[in-house]
Symmetry: D3
Subunit: 139 residues, 6 copies
């Protein structure tokens, strides 16, 4: 079940078609997954979301493509977003994630959640050595 | 402020000292940060937590050390654990994270949170192509 | 699947029937949605929960009814409560939410999550100008 | 810093004073902690919140007082509510929580968070044997 | 404490100055709050974040400015983002939020969190009547 | 749907069989629930996770078995982990949780979430009396 209906023929909207064409070209596939199909109900939201995803996830940058997917999965698990866990695990596998790396990712995500709870439960004060510096003019 | 007092001389407990010694040796430092100092109130909890962290974060494995810290930060931000965001950002920097990589990490963590919200808000159904397979015998 | 069974004829309990009658009268409908049906396993919990919802959501107040539903959806998305996202999106639509407003709600919820992550990831100190004042006697 | 100012003499409002008097009588103390002082800016919100807390936490019931505080702490840690972690840890200690029980609580909260992440990361399907039963009439 | 240092004179970077100038013009103030000062460490991240905030929060749209701030606060509270709760509560007050509206916002955010927990704890199945429709072609 | 396939005959791996045997012996059942079946894809992760669960949840300790399950459920609800809510509610019932205790657990979890939101929304400063003490040497 979804929370809203979407147009039966979303690509009749030229802006939607332009985004879908760019998704297909960028990912070298004919498949448009459900998130994009549903976002088609609002062309502006679809455009800005895809622009962000393309710029950060599908453009060469300072982090390699697989590392970026692993970070994405880590956030999605922590936010309990079932859809995103599925879609980005599939994406990570397509970018070469091995079973051993997947197991390790899950183990680290679990460990981080555990020590997050310990630090919050104890209300551990932040060590002065971790300070990254002042905010100029922000006093 | 913290939620509990900790012993003034935690290393008088031989189990605590053994863990602290291992932290110092593993990290090649004399500094023990506050999380470990606070966990010293219960030697068993200290031992098991450090054993997990050492095994996953300080042992060569299928993911490189910096990638593991980036994943750790991503979870810690999403869980709003102030202490952990500080300690693991410092650790990532010690392992070579550049300013550009830090900016990109934050951008991806922010983007993932945004699309998590969109997928959850729309209750997007998971695409069949994302299915990873059945659970044997789990019917 | 659910985590507990509920009575087959919940309205045989007079307290449950009184609440269901009030839900039907307040909402001008014959339909009782699943949350209330399940809460019927404990009359006290059902009564106090409905009393809260009726007082805050179904009584004229300082915020208009649609705004209140939008706030409710925002929290439900952030908590990844699938049931609540569905039920309150339906309620907002019944109170006049347009497609354009829905798209905008989702966009703001996504943006807020993104900047929440940036502020937490950077551990931005709160500006002094944002201080709302002291707590009298709370020293 | 807080997000709003509160009246310097909150007990000049008779409704606030009645709640504060009840807090002092119920808890057998003269101390009113900051949450109640801040909620005093809106008497209705103060009254309903205290009524809920008193009924569930300060009234003999099906769970013993310490167990109820441990549950409260577990939720507060998971929601990263610094104030609530502090106030309910202090309350649990006042109700007899030992250091060993505190350590065990933290260990279980950490373990639960870890296995939550594993189950969500793997998207483990719920076993049929866990089903609690249907919702009557809710089809 | 923060997690990273920021340039002492951020506006020496022309891109940063352009964004800061636009913030000052859009908000009709000389004050630049700490989030923007810290984001100045990466001009691209600063630009894209401000562009999103300006477009959604500072442009006339389908929701009124105060409603948008209330939604923003609701998400920020739920994510436990201390900075964002402070900054957006201040912004809502600047846009006319009264004390009574603030109290009501907090009460609704609290109620939503409570019923989110009930629905999740009971694993209430979504009512068929809440279905918003199929995803075309997404099978 | 799941995020990864698992071996059809997991117990052909001697390490997996050893863990499954220990689960069956510890719980006095022939049933292995899906979480363990899925974790079988990585023997090390399976072993360490079960070791943690067995040590904390299935060994006599400072908290009684039912209290430990209630804490586990509270965290699982707050993290919106559907699988874990189901499995630990079933486990709590097997350990004697009554309907009245279940209703009370849900009510407290809901109340805690509500007051967490109020404290975070108001940014209530922590009372000095809640301070648990300094961190020795952690300055």
């Amino acid at each position: 079940m979804t929370t809203r209906s979407t147009p039966a023929e979303p690509e009749q909207d030229a802006r939607v078609r332009a985004v879908f064409d760019d998704i297909r070209a960028t990912r070298n596939t004919t498949y448009i997954n459900n998130l994009w199909r549903m976002l088609a109900f609002d062309a502006a939201l679809l455009e800005s979301t895809w622009a962000d995803v393309k710029r950060l996830m599908a453009t060469p940058s300072h982090l390699d493509p697989l590392t970026k997917e692993l970070i994405y999965i880590a956030v999605s698990i922590t936010n309990a977003c079932s859809y995103c866990v599925h879609s980005h695990t599939a994406a990570a596998r397509a970018k070469g994630m091995t079973d051993a790396q997947h197991a390790e990712l899950l183990a680290i995500v679990g460990l981080a959640a555990k020590t997050n709870q310990l630090a919050t439960g104890l209300q551990v004060p932040v060590d002065a050595v971790f300070d990254g510096g002042p905010v100029p003019g922000g006093a």
